[in-house]
Each structure stands twice: as structure tokens, then as C-alpha cells.
Amino acid sequence: MKHLLSTADLSKQEAVGLLDTAAQMAATQSREIKKLPTLRGRTVVNLFFEDSTRTRISFETAAKRLSADVINFSAKGSSVSKGESLKDTALTLHAMGADAVVVRHWASGAPYQLAHAGWLDAAVLNAGDGTHMHPTQALLDAYTIRRHLAVRGSGLPGGAADGVGADLAGLRVAIVGDVLHSRVARANVALLRTLGAEVTLVAPPTLVPVGVETWPCRTSYDLDATLDDWRPDAVMMLRVQRERMSGGAGAFFPSPLEYSRYYGLDARRLARLADHAIVMHPGPMNRGLEISAEAADSDKAVIVEQVANGIAVRMAALYLLMAGDSSAEGNDL
């Protein structure tokens, strides 16, 4: 694995390996000294062309916990706002000697271009591109689901009993809300499928993308029926991405109140979930729109834990992409 661009590229073995590595990373994060010397002297550039709080901070924390140097680069206040192209930005980063580039971009496919155009020889990690993919978010979701729901792992003796070595076979995950604009949904459908889980997308018809029938999942327009008849083990609420809805396409639903009546997770729907079921949200939440405060703050919600798991998953991704690079200059012993 040289880059982490899309969850569709991951084999089941790679995905389980990534989650297992994340479990070991998480174990180090409960220590008094959380920092590991693993990536000392290596440089990670956070290249963010789009606003982000938790993903950027999470990647920055992960890189620092592994002793890498972190350079934050956001489009606002950089030469990008003067019209510099992605290529010239990449060449600049190359000249500065970046070992890994974490990129978030509003254009789908920008990380792929960065990885394959030959501008850079660094590892590229996709931190969200347009409405395409957000692989580390999907991995941390899968990690969270596995910790709570997977059969206790038999892979390793003792130590991390968080389902290490297990996949997600047989689990049912409902992904509810703005699927059309959601890279989180796309990344999750591919990864959860690879790991053996079943996925149902629940969304109003206007927020279901064209071509969804080719995705390896079911779709439904009825949240109540899905919760009652299909009995999901995990419910993942997606944020209604109003910033992407203001374009020429106009409104996607008549009113926020109607959306929240039909597709919001409120106390009534929360009570109908199975006892073991968990409620997830990639954040940031629109409380009162797709998720009510009762649901967000309930015992079933693992939303804050998702953020903590994000650090471990990103440490694992950085470790697996950067640590074993034998093509690097080498003789530092």
C-alpha cells in the first residue's frame, strides 16, 4: 500500500490489518506517554483546500503522536487564493521534502491526481475529496462498529479484546440522510461491504445519487420501515450538507421540519432500536435536523468515541504508509 485514496481499493485482508494496527495504536494512547518515536524525522503535510476541524486536527494529532513533523497548509491564506494550481502546490511540497501528504479537496479525484501525476513521490492520504471518498472516516466507523459489535476476536491472545482480527460479517448498518453529497456514505458502503457487513441507505429520493442501484447495498426511502423490519445493528446519521445545496439545483426537501420528521433520528425512533444497536454520526452534527439532542446524547451514541478512534485509525494509516518505506534514503543508522 503506497497511498490511501479510496476504500474501494482495499482488500479485506488490508482493511482488517489496518483496523488491527489501529487497535494497537489505540492501546498506546491510554498510556501516560502517548508519543511513539516511529516516524521521527519524517514530514507530514496537511493540505486542506476545504474547511475541516476534526479531520485536520485528528491527522495532526496522529502524526505528532508518531513523532512526525506536521506542516499545516490551508487554501485560505496561501498562494492558492492567488490562483496557484494544484500541480504547482504539489511541486512546492515535493521541493520541501514532504514524506506524506494528507489532502482534502473540494474536487473529487484531486488526491488521485496528486498521487499519480508524478508531481510528488510522497504517500498521499485522502482526507475527503468532493463527494467521492473519505477513507479514514470509513475506517474509523468500521473500527468503532467492530469494537462494539464484532464477535470477540480469537486472532490474538489477550491484549486488545476489541474484536482484533475480526471482520464485520453479518452486521447490518443503516446509513441515513444526505447520501447524494456524502463521501462518507460512499466510503462506508465500499468498506463495510468488503468487511462483510450489509448496508442499507435511507434517504429521500432527491438525496439518492443517480446510479445507486450499482452500489453493493440496498436503498430505502422509509426510515421507520427500515428500523422496524430490517433491525440494523448500527445507524449512521449523515449530516445534511446545506453548503453543497445552495447551487443551481435548488432545494432538495420542502422544509427542514419535514426532513427531520421523516429522516431525523429522534427519541421515538431511538427507542425502537435494538438494545445493542449504536448510533453514529461523522460530525459536525446539525442537532435538531438529522439527529435530535436526545439521540446525540444517549447511551447508544458513540459519536465522541468515533473522534477518539479517528486518531488511532489515522496513526495506523500513517504508520502503514510511511514506516516501511525502503525506497527512502536509507542509511541513517
Binding site: G17, D20, T21, Q24, M25, A27, T28, R31, I33, K35, L36, P37, T38, L66, L156, P157, G158, G159, A160, Y319, L320, A323, G324, D325, S326, A328, G330, D332, L333
Partner: protein, 203 residues
Amino acid sequence: MSPGPALPADSEPDGTTVLGASDVARALTRIAHEIVERARGTDDLVLLGIPTRGVTLARRLAERLAQIDPAFDVDACVGELDVTMYRDDLRRQPTRAVGVTRLPAAGIENKTVVLVDDVLFSGRTIRAALDALGDLGRPRAVRLACLVDRGHREVPIRPDFVGKNLPTAQSERVRVRLAEVDDVADAVVIAGRDDAAGERGAR
């Protein structure tokens, strides 16, 4: 952890067996007695195995310690210490899987920690283990036990308890087989001897 030059696993199924199952058992029993003698008892002893085979050896040593001193609680005093993320050769090799680190519930603070590994070679694994220990706590003392010391140290590290000193050539490959891990009888095998002799002749 560094049995020799990186070769694909099981590329040389045969080799010279230098220690058999009974030799390994006797060596471990002697090491256990030496540990007790050195520590003047088993109070505050913690055995930490370095994966993979060091973990098995640490457990076997602990069982022998329990035979010597019935007050020694095996489960409360044995752990494993993964050193992967502290290695200095990460960038020279394909990515290694990160292993489990599991300390006894009482921790290692002010304990006498005995690191247990199968083969002591360059010493770099032990250097990494010392760094890893430093991040986990401050033991009162750290000792090193290994089943085989094959020489060729690259850092100033020496073992406190050795099962067997094996003079080897750098190119030889020393492997420890343990029943729990490898499903074969315990043995210490040296492979690549002939190549080494040829190399020595050429020099």
C-alpha cells in the same frame, strides 16, 4: 528477534540442530534459578517477553519460577512487549505488523523487569525494547535473558542470563523452534553453515 539476514521464511528447512528439547528445558531451568539468585527471591519480578518466541519463553520461565517459589503468581507477573514502533530499521524493511504490548496489571514501576528474547544477535531489538520500556514506566532494574547468544553485537548491550553461547558467522541463521509457536519439538537450529564456511575460505 534478529535471527540473521532477512531470508524468506522456511527457505532452508534443514540445518544443524545444536540444542534439542531437553537442552532447551535444562537451559530454561538454569536461567530461572539464576534469576531467583540474582534477585534474591521473586519479589517485584516482572518477566516481559519480546514477540513472538520471547513471549513463550517468558511464560515458561515464569512457570519454573513458580515451581521454585510457590508465592510467584505467573499470570500477574508476565507480559509482552512489542518493540516494532521503536525499531531503528523500520525504513529498511517492508512494513512490519504492530504487535501487542500487554503489561501485568501492577505495571512495571519500581519492579525488576527481565526482558526475555529467543536469540540475542545485533542487540538492536533490545535497544528498542529499552526505549519502549522507558515510555511505559521506570523499572528499578532491567535485566536481559535470552535462550541463545550468537554474538555479533552492534550496540553495547550484554545479556544477564544466557541459555547457550553459540559462536556463529554473521551469515548464518539461528532459529529457535518452540512447541507452542511452531508445532514441532523444541530445538535451536543453525542454517547456512556451508555458505558461511565458503565465505570464510574466500576471505
